[in-house]
Subunit: 580 residues, 2 copies
Amino acid sequence: MAKVVRVNMTEKKVTFEPVPEQYGALGGRALTSRVIYDEVPANCDPLGPYNKIVIAPGILAGTAAPSSGRISVGGKSPLTGGIKEANAGTPVAQKLGRMQIKMIVVEGQASDGLYLLKLNKDGAELLSADELKGKMTREINKTLFSQFGEKTGIMTIGVTGDFRMSMAGICFNDTEGRASRYAGRGGLGAVLGSKGLKAMVVDDEGAPGVELSDKDLFKQGQKKMVDALRSHDVTKPGGALNTYGTAVLVNILNEAGGLPTRNFSSGHFDGANKTGGEAIAEAVQKRNGGMTGHGCHPGCIIRCSNVYPNEDGSEMTSCVEYESTWALGANLDIDNLDQIAKLVDICNEIGVDTIEAGVTLGVAMDVGVIPFGDGEGAIKLMEEVGKGTPLGRILGNGAWFTGKAYGSTRIPTVKRQGMPAYEPRAVKGIGVTYITSTMGADHTAGYTIAPEILAVGGKVDPLSPEGKVDLSRAFQATTAFIDTSGYCLFIAFAILDIPSGMEGMVESVNGVLGTTWKTDDVIKLGMETLKLEWEFNKNAGFSKEDDRPPEFMRYEKLPPHNTVFDISDDDLDKIWAEFQ
Amino acid sequence: MAKVVRVNMTEKKVTFEPVPEQYGALGGRALTSRVIYDEVPANCDPLGPYNKIVIAPGILAGTAAPSSGRISVGGKSPLTGGIKEANAGTPVAQKLGRMQIKMIVVEGQASDGLYLLKLNKDGAELLSADELKGKMTREINKTLFSQFGEKTGIMTIGVTGDFRMSMAGICFNDTEGRASRYAGRGGLGAVLGSKGLKAMVVDDEGAPGVELSDKDLFKQGQKKMVDALRSHDVTKPGGALNTYGTAVLVNILNEAGGLPTRNFSSGHFDGANKTGGEAIAEAVQKRNGGMTGHGCHPGCIIRCSNVYPNEDGSEMTSCVEYESTWALGANLDIDNLDQIAKLVDICNEIGVDTIEAGVTLGVAMDVGVIPFGDGEGAIKLMEEVGKGTPLGRILGNGAWFTGKAYGSTRIPTVKRQGMPAYEPRAVKGIGVTYITSTMGADHTAGYTIAPEILAVGGKVDPLSPEGKVDLSRAFQATTAFIDTSGYCLFIAFAILDIPSGMEGMVESVNGVLGTTWKTDDVIKLGMETLKLEWEFNKNAGFSKEDDRPPEFMRYEKLPPHNTVFDISDDDLDKIWAEFQ
C-alpha cells in the first residue's frame, strides 16, 4: 500500500499517511508540483516556515523499466522565487519506489540543530545530525554508510545548504555510493537547510517492491522502451552518450556557434576540443583510471556518466558532464580539464549546482573579480563559497545575485536562474525554453536542442526564430510527463524518433498505475502540470515580464553568427496563452 | 521661457528643448514620474542603457513661497525595480527654478569615464570629471565650489554611485554648501553612476526667475501658507520641529511602542532619550557648536535641520534627523549620539541613503555579522561599503540584498526597500503606506503618522487596522501633489489642520501655473500621478503580491504591544482597486 511520509521539523514528528486519491496517478514532478501548489502559500518566504520540500520518486522508479531511477524534489525556490522541481538519477529513487513511499513531505523548521531522517521497513525516525555540520558531502556519505550500512541510500545537503545559499542543491548517492547525483537547480538545498533537515537515509531491506496494476502491459512497455533505447544512435550501448557522455556536445555546440563562452560573450570557444567528451574519454584511457559509460543508478542502459581520474589514475570526481565542463570550462575561458574536474569536485563537496556555480563565476570574471581563464582563481572562489566568507556569500547566492552585487548589466539568467550551456542567440528554441519555463532558465525543461542541433525528432534551423514558441511548448509539455514517469530525460532521443519507444513509455506507466493513457495524452498530461506550476508562479507574483530574456541579449550581437535574440515579447507571451 | 535640458551621455550631447505642452502644468514628482512613464521601458535594466534620470524642481522652487526649495529625481530604481521619485530640499532646486529649467533628462551611458554637467546662463556643457573618482562628497563639493564659484549649486554622487550600489543616493548642497541633502532612496545614485554622470554644477547668475502667471494670486497663496506655517505648533518658529528637529519624534514614537529597535524586533528602545532631538539640542548647547533650527535651503521657515558638533564644538556633520538617528541608533541598539552622527557623516561622505544604510546594518547585526550595539563595528562596516570590498558590496546593495546573502527571514523591506522609523505592527496606517506605495517602504509617501501619533489632521488609533487603507490612500494622494508643488512635505502638518494653509498651497501653485485648481482637486491630481507610477510598476512586472508586508511581521509579535500586522491582503488590495 503506497504511502506518504510527512515530516514536521518544528515538532520533530514523522507520520505515515495514505495517498490521497487525487494524487494516486501522480509521481515525480507532477506530484511534487501538485503538492507544492496545494500546500504551500505561493507568496511565502522560501526560507521561512511555510515553504515545504516534497521528495517523490518517479512513477517507474524501483521497477525494472530501463533508465527509470529518477527522483523529483519540489519546493518554492529561493533562487527564482517560483515553483521548483529538480530531479536526479539515483538508487534512492528506486529504494523509495520499492518501499512504496509515494512521497516525503518536509514541513516546518527545526530551531535546535540539524536532523537526519531515517526510513526503513520499521518506519521513520528523526535523529540528531549535528555532527554532520560543516562536513563535505563525501565525508557525510562515508559517515552515514558506515553508520547505517553500505546498502542504504543517502540524500544530503552540503555546507552551502546549511548557509541557506541559493545555489545549494540536494545530493543523492550514485550506484557506488558517491555523493554526486544532484537535484541541483533552484537552491532547494537551502530550503532543506532552513528546515534543519541535513540528510535522509533510506534502507529498503525487506521492501515489497513497486505494485504493478498490469504486469503484462508493464512488461510490454518496458520491452519497447529497452528496444528503442538500444537501437537509437544517441542512446544505444556504444552510442554517443555511452561512449563520450553528455560532454560529447561540447564540440557539437561549438561547431554550431552556440557554446556560450566567457560569460555569454561568444558562441565559440577555442578550447572546446580540450574540454569535451572526447578529451574526457582520452584522459580515462591514458591515465588508466576513472571510467566512461558509467550509470548513475542500476538499470540504466544509456550510462552517460563518468568518473574522472587524477593524473595517477586515482579517482578525482564524478561526473564531468556536458553542463559542468561547459559551465566551469568554456564559460570561464578555462581549457584545462583537470581544473574543470577539480571545480566539479568542489561543487559536489560543498553541495552546489555546477551550472549555477559556473554561470556565477562567469559573471564574477566579467566584472573583474578574477580574470577569465584563471582556473586556480576559480578554485579559490569556490572554496570561499564553501567557507561562507562575504565573497562566498555573494557567489553562493548565484549569478543574478553576483551580477547585482557588482552592478553588472551582463547577467545571463532568467527568473534569476543561470542559463545552461546553449546560447539562446544561436539556438533560439532553447532560448524560448529558458525564458518561458516555470523553472527559470533550464535546458531540461524543454530540450529543443534535439531537433535544433541533433536532428532528433525532426530538424529545424537553430538560428531561425520561426516556430520556436510552439516547438518549445511541445517539448516542455512532453518533458513534464517524462519528469513524472521516473524515466531519465534522455529517453527523449529514442522516443522522439521511434514511435514504439513513445508507446513503451506510456504503456509501462499504465502498467504501474492502471491508467489507460495513450501517447496522444502525453502533451495534455504534461500541460496539466505546467499549468499548475504557472499558476503557482502567478500567485507568487510572476507576470509575463518575468518571461523575458536578459536585456543585453536583445542588443549585444553574439559571435560568430552575430545574432541577437529576436523572438518578440509578444510571441513569447503566446506560449502560455491558454493558461491566462 | 521654460525649457527642458536633455543630456545624452552616450553621445556627450546636451540639447535644450521647449517644454511639451502636456508637461506644462507639471513639476517635481508629477513631472519626473510622467516622463519616466513616457520615455523609459518599464521592464528595462535599471543600470542599462534604456533607463533615464529626470531631475525636476518643484513648481514653486525658486519663488518666494516658504519652504518650497524641493527637487525631485526620478528613474527606474535598481533597489525596487519599480519607478522611483526621491526628493531633497536644496538651493539647487531654487536655482533651476529661477533659470526656468523645467527638468533635466539624463539618458544613454558614457563608456569612457566620468562627466560633469555645467549649467549656466550661457547654456550647458559636459566636462570630464575623472578627477572626482573615488573622492568623498565633502571633497567633491569643495573642489567644485572652488572651481566654479561659491554661489553655484552642486549635485553629485559618492563613490557608492560609481560602484552602482543600490543604496547610493544623489547628493545636493545645503544652504551653506555642505554635501548633505539627499534624494536618497531607491539607489538613483547608482543609475547616475551607470550613466557616468558624476556631478552637476548649476550657476544661476543672471537667471530670469520663475515666471508667475498671476502674481497677486501667488502672493495671496504664499501669505496664507506663511501664516499657516507660522501658527501651527509643529511648524512654527520655536515649535517642535524648529527647536528639536525631526528627531523630536524619537521619544514620541518610543512612548507609542512604535520605534523599531534591533532590526524591528521591538517597538521600544531603552536608549531613546539619549538619541532623540532633545539630546541633539543638548549636545549643541553644551558643546557650544553646531546648530539646531537649521534650514536646508534659503526661504525655509520651518528650519528642522541641524548641524551636529564634535566634542570640541567643531562641526561633525549635518544633519542628524529622525530617520538617521533611528536607523543608525535604535535600529542597531546604539545609544551613543556621537557614533550615530559619525555614521551619518560616513553615509553622506560615501553617498548613501541613511535609512537604507541603517536598515541594512540592522539586518547584518541580526544575522550576526557584528553584534547589536557595536557602534565601532558599524562604522567599520560602512567604511567597507565605501571601499567596495565584498562585504561592502553586500551591504551597499541594501537590506534586502544583505538579508538574502545571509539567508535571513527577518528582512524589514517592501519591494526590497528598507522600512523607515515607524513600526508597521504598532502604527498600522504607515504600514499600509509602506506596503502599498509605488516607491517601496517609504514613510514620506503617505505620512499617516500625523493623525496616528501626532493628532494632526484628526486622531486615530495607531494600533487599530480599521480605516487605515482609506487613510493611507488619501495621504498618498495628497503627498503626490505636495511632492509636485515644490513645498516641503512638512507643510502637511499645517495645511491638514488649517484650511487656509491648504488654500495657500493650491493658490500659490495656481499663481505660478495659471491653473484654476481648487483644494478639492488635490487628491484627484495626486491620484493621477500615483496611477502613472502604479502602471509603470505593473508594466515592470509588479503585481498585488508586491504589496505585501514582510512575512515575519505576520507571525512575530512585536513588543511592547505584542501585535502583528493584521490588515488582510484583501484589504490591502483595495487601496488601488480603481487602478485595476
